[in-house]
Symmetry: C2
């Protein structure tokens, strides 16, 4: 039986594995975590609205009944394409086909030292760290008597005006300006301030200008100040420098820019400036019809020559496409070009506030928000998660208070 | 307005605060965490059945509408009873009355170095660490080809046969022997083994012998080996030494023995061998009618001269009792002795398996288990938590699979 090794259990890898189930193949999934993560809702874990288990599901649970599927928790250290071998955690495994679906990490444009002060949001661990940071900051502010010193803990700066940045800014705006403040005695809501910083002249780049402006207006209603055309020139423990403007803050979240995983360098294929593998029209790497790269790790262009966004639908369609080639053993010459079907894009800003482009139609406000809710519930990985997220959202909608406001690790340095 | 400072937001502290609300007093709660924790269900977080947020609730949320209550996240460093002052996180606060409800920690009978290999279970952070340890161990076992080496990762040793130890052993027995194993390809359920180690001749000391034996039988049905009369003489990274028997394991959990917090030494009052404050009949410390110690931190005896167990009902009754004295400003001479009303004791072993003594009646099996479920649901701190725990339990009951099987921090040393 031929063996397919899949590196990464995200949207691309998991869809590929599921699509391969109907063929007579051995499937091996290696992931750095033990769970598939529904990343589009990760910002809600970071903002205390959802629990980690609401949006994550053990990868091996998805394949309980499939004896031909093995799942390993491991970090791939090396790919040897010549000998068709993958090395991880002191062991190695041979493959007939390899699917590389390793995703991406945030990056700091050559300033890795900023990460310490401005964490990014890609994993559950990232989200929990941001949650603790936000909550600890409010706790610290409550204890500080000096108004000027307290202000630092009540300023929130989110860098990057893509969907993650917008969603984070909106959610934090709702929390600090409306929901939570009545739990505190010394914090004046007027003192709290959320900033969303974007280097170019608009937020939500892939959206039409009209919707970008609408999102900006929605954010401003949540008391978020959107700063456009502002490039971060420095980040330190006391705040963010934007050219000649300095914002004092103990809370910086980084949602600007992705970079592919260094593991891709192992593939001996050309990478683009963000470190993504430049793939052939069948998503294989140069000169190797058995190695595919999909999802955020691949630089794939649409028919207009525009690079596909790093979004779940693209990764999932690629996973399906690759599974078919492998399962039906389609020879290199006969493989048709991968074609992305655009199902639309959407971003939410807050309660009853969202923007979306679906089949060419621009949506905003309540209707876009409802569409956003329904689609995100539907695409969650299990019935269990769908039920839980729905219950949490209803709770939040009714009480206006995010439910998961726990500080689990007591970080002394912040107190 | 007189100020009552309460150190600790556990069962004792929180009940005291709530009972004080009806009086015209300023109330300040200081806790090391930001949440009240429903500790009786903590083992279910450690065994992946519940999420942290299911059993924890932000302390300040309980007092949102009470402007006379302030809550601070902080660690009390010093109590100055002479000047009626409490020092925490670089600041200090004066009190008219002080309630010390600081709980306890597990202790290692003079071998603190064992903690690294045998973590205890008192906080959410403890529970998450144990959860990661158990799940990582299975992941590691799945990768190991050598059967003898693999066995180490499939042995689980729980030290201490009190309620926590019994509940942990039962839950881990259910997980590793029944529920999860079908998710793994290389792990043979016959290889997994759970041991419960107790130094004296019976488990569940406060229970009648008949129920202790029943609990032991129930555990054995879950393939847990109960080792009585066995004292741990050494713990290291490869296992546990019990006299001349050595059990090889990478998974040791410590559920033996409590020790009160060192902060109590500040009170200038006599402590017992476990570090608890020996209190007067009105729960005050020697020569100070304004300082009360309640809950696990106090050594309180019942009418028969027997020390009260460190359980929630005792702490809650003490919190209420103390609040009345403070609220009604009862003078030292007129304070009646604290009397503990025994509402019963219970422990669960697994699905449809529990033991209980309620109003002198011995219960076991399904009926005791149902009583256990109902009582634990009822005493959860909020409607939200009650709803969530019920939903999780129903899920677990139907699917036989704990739902929160997430490894969030990828601990490299285990891989």
């Amino acid at each position: 039986m031929k063996r397919v090794v899949i590196i990464g259990g995200g949207f691309g890898g998991l869809t590929a594995a599921k699509s391969l189930l109907k063929y007579d193949l051995e499937i091996v999934i290696i992931d750095k975590t033990n769970h598939h993560l529904f990343q589009p809702l990760l910002y809600q874990v970071a903002t205390a609205a959802l629990s980690p288990a609401d949006i994550a599901h053990p990868i091996r649970s998805s394949f309980s009944g499939n004896k031909n599927v093995s799942v390993f928790l491991g970090e791939v250290a090396k790919i040897d394409t010549e000998n068709k071998k993958v090395f991880f955690n002191g062991t190695s495994i041979n493959y007939d086909y390899l699917i590389v679906a390793v995703g991406s990490r945030h990056h700091y444009f050559g300033n890795p030292e900023w990460e310490k002060f401005a964490p990014g949001l890609k994993t559950l661990n990232d989200a929990l760290q941001i949650r603790e940071k936000i909550l600890l900051s409010l706790e610290t502010a409550e204890k500080i008597q000096d108004v000027k010193e307290r202000k630092k803990y009540l300023n929130y700066v989110i860098v990057g005006g893509g969907p993650t940045g917008v969603e984070l800014a909106g959610a934090i705006g709702e929390i600090v300006n409306k929901n939570l403040i009545k739990d505190y005695r010394n914090i004046d809501p007027k003192q709290t301030k959320v900033y969303l910083v974007e280097a170019i002249p608009k937020i939500l780049t892939p959206f039409p200008d009209k919707l970008s402006l609408r999102a900006k207006k929605d954010l401003e209603e949540l008391a978020v100040e959107v700063i456009l055309n502002a490039k971060v020139t420095s980040v330190n423990e006391n705040g963010v420098q934007l050219g000649d403007r300095f914002i004092e803050t103990k809370n910086i979240i980084w949602a600007a820019g992705n970079q592919a995983m260094p593991l891709l360098k192992n593939l001996n294929t050309e990478l683009d400036s963000a470190g993504r593998a430049i793939v052939n029209h069948d998503l294989t790497v140069d000169n190797d019809p058995y190695v595919f790269v999909i999802g955020d790790a691949a630089a794939v262009k649409d028919d207009n020559g525009k690079l596909l966004s790093a979004i779940a639908p693209a990764a999932m369609q690629q996973g399906k496409y690759v599974a078919k080639i492998i399962g039906e053993n389609i020879s290199k010459e006969q493989r048709k070009k991968f074609k992305y079907k655009d199902r639309g894009i959407m971003a939410t800003i807050g309660k009853a506030k969202a923007v979306a482009v679906i089949k060419g139609f621009n949506l905003s406000g309540l209707f876009a928000w409802l569409a956003w809710c329904v689609i995100h519930i539907l695409f969650l990985i299990s019935f269990r998660n769908r039920f839980r997220v729905m219950a949490e959202w209803m709770w939040y909608y009714i009480t206006n208070r995010p439910g998961i406001r726990l500080i689990v690790k007591y970080t002394k340095e912040n107190n």
